[in-house]
């Protein structure tokens, strides 16, 4: 009940902000269209890059939105007030996770639908799996955003976490340099970054008609990373503060 009304409250906040909704829905689609024209005449390259981006964009967008939204809860006093009510920490964590997860599902569905339908992207596996992995990646962004909001005092600081969290994952996920060709230490860093697994999972969907064992394992790793980030996030939500 409290969880349901918290999800509802977060979605209502989003609903009152049409500009943000437009950004969530339109921006990934526009960027993928840009990639389409960048690789015009090289459909295989486009397929590979666009597929990866379908996983990356939801992560970035949801990370940003969540870290700012949670930071606002902390700085405007609403979090302090919520902690004097029967709200539990899990109500808040899952509230944000589910509410923004739903927004991410809409985003991924539109971006994937547009890539396949209009831009002619092709994958051996199904669009449903692509959306599933994209949503998992978005929820990972939500979970890391909740966590990082604890380390920022202002929105100004919060946005600085984006390059810190996103850029290494993007650079080392295998898009620019295949992971097998990386130097050992780079590969080791890549191995502990969750986005490496979601990108690998998407690549699997790209080349195999049926879901593979590697894909499921990678998805499980991403889900595991979400759980770890949420547990760490819960630890930063303190009822009592100095």
């Amino acid at each position: 009940m409290i969880l349901a009304s918290t999800i509802c409250r977060i979605l209502t906040q989003l609903r009152h902000d049409p500009r943000t909704i437009a950004m969530i829905i339109v921006v990934p689609t526009v960027l993928i269209t840009l990639i389409y024209f960048m690789y015009e005449g090289q459909p295989h390259v486009f397929d590979r890059v666009a597929l990866t981006m379908l996983g990356v964009f939801p992560f970035i967008v949801m990370f940003l939105i969540t870290s700012i939204a949670m930071l606002r809860e902390r700085t405007t006093g609403t979090l302090e007030r919520l902690f004097t009510t029967p709200v539990g920490r899990l109500d808040l964590l899952f509230g944000y996770g589910i509410a923004f997860g739903l927004a991410a599902a809409a985003q991924a569905a539109v971006a994937a639908g547009f890539s396949y339908g209009v831009l002619g992207m092709r994958t051996a596996g199904s669009i449903g799996l692509v959306i599933l992995i994209a949503v998992a990646n978005a929820v990972l962004g939500v979970a890391l955003g909740l966590l990082c909001s604890a380390f920022a005092r202002t929105e100004f600081q919060a946005v600085q976490f984006m390059p810190l969290v996103v850029a290494p994952q993007l650079l080392l996920c295998g898009l620019f340099v295949p992971r097998v060709d990386m130097a050992g230490w780079l590969r080791a860093i890549s191995d502990v970054l969750p986005m490496s697994y979601s990108v690998e999972a998407l690549t699997e969907v790209g080349v195999h008609p049926e879901p593979t064992g590697i894909m499921w394992r990678d998805l499980a790793v991403v889900v595991g990373a979400i759980v770890v980030a949420l547990i760490l996030g819960a630890a930063t939500l303190r009822r009592r503060t100095a």
């Binding site: 409250r9 004097t84 009822r239 009592r240």
Partner: protein
């Protein structure tokens, strides 16, 4: 006893805000917590609602340790800066806080009426004036009809007519058995309280009914009484 604070020590950063603070607030009635800015009013209130890290001492509310889960459905807290969602309407805010206490839209509507925001209920909080915004925040504290109501400067920036209405409302809640703790730095509001707790630099200067406080200082003016009591303490120290 509704609220019992014993030997409370709170440090914020390097500063010791409350150093061995003790007080007792009886059930029912309006208790005014008065003192200058920085005297420890907000810190004391945060300790009572259980969101303040305390170094030592105990705070007991309705027989339970402050902040413990049985209290969370029985206490209402208004923070000094309005803590409502600016991107929700007044009604949406009140409904959300009502839902946390498993209450419906009716409780929310009553709270909105009680703070005189009925006409603005469909407006986004971000579009309200400062005074309206703090009343929206107050509505969210009133929504659960709590047994203990902790209000940090609820009347700041309100017009005199509204302030009068809000005080009438607090008095009604107290008459119905609620314990209302209101902080203020406006001395003329002190006369509307059943009991006063004057604090300065984290220590109790006076504790009693307004008339008794004035009598002990030998003046009819509360501002003057406050000053006299502080001077008397300084001489004693």
């Amino acid at each position: 006893m509704s609220i019992e604070v014993r030997d409370l020590v709170v440090r914020r950063g390097r500063r010791t805000v409350l150093d061995g603070f003790s007080c007792v607030i009886p059930q029912g009635g309006v208790t005014g917590l008065l003192g200058p800015s920085g005297s420890g009013k907000t810190t004391l209130m945060r300790a009572i609602v259980g969101v303040q890290v305390v170094a030592s001492g105990t705070v007991t509310v309705l027989g339970h340790p402050a902040g413990s889960s049985p209290l969370r459905s029985r206490i209402g807290y208004l923070t000094q800066a309005p803590s409502v969602y600016a991107d929700l309407t007044v009604a949406e805010n009140a409904r959300y806080f009502a839902s946390l206490h498993r209450l419906g839209g009716r409780a929310a509507d009553e709270a909105i009426e009680a703070v005189g925001l009925g006409a603005a209920r469909r407006q986004l909080v971000s579009q309200l004036s400062g005074g309206q915004r703090s009343r929206a925040s107050l509505a969210c504290a009133l929504v659960s009809c709590p047994e203990v109501l902790v209000l940090d400067e609820p009347t700041v920036g309100q017009d005199p007519v509204l302030r009068d209405e809000l005080w009438d409302h607090f008095r009604r809640l107290a008459a119905d058995g609620a314990t209302v703790l209101v902080s203020s730095h406006v001395m003329d509001e002190a006369n509307r309280c059943d009991r006063l707790l004057l604090i300065r630099e984290g220590a109790v200067i006076a504790d009693g009914a307004p008339a008794a406080v004035k009598r002990s200082a030998g003046t009819e003016d509360l501002d003057q009484a406050f000053l006299t009591l502080i001077r008397r303490r300084e001489v004693a120290a």
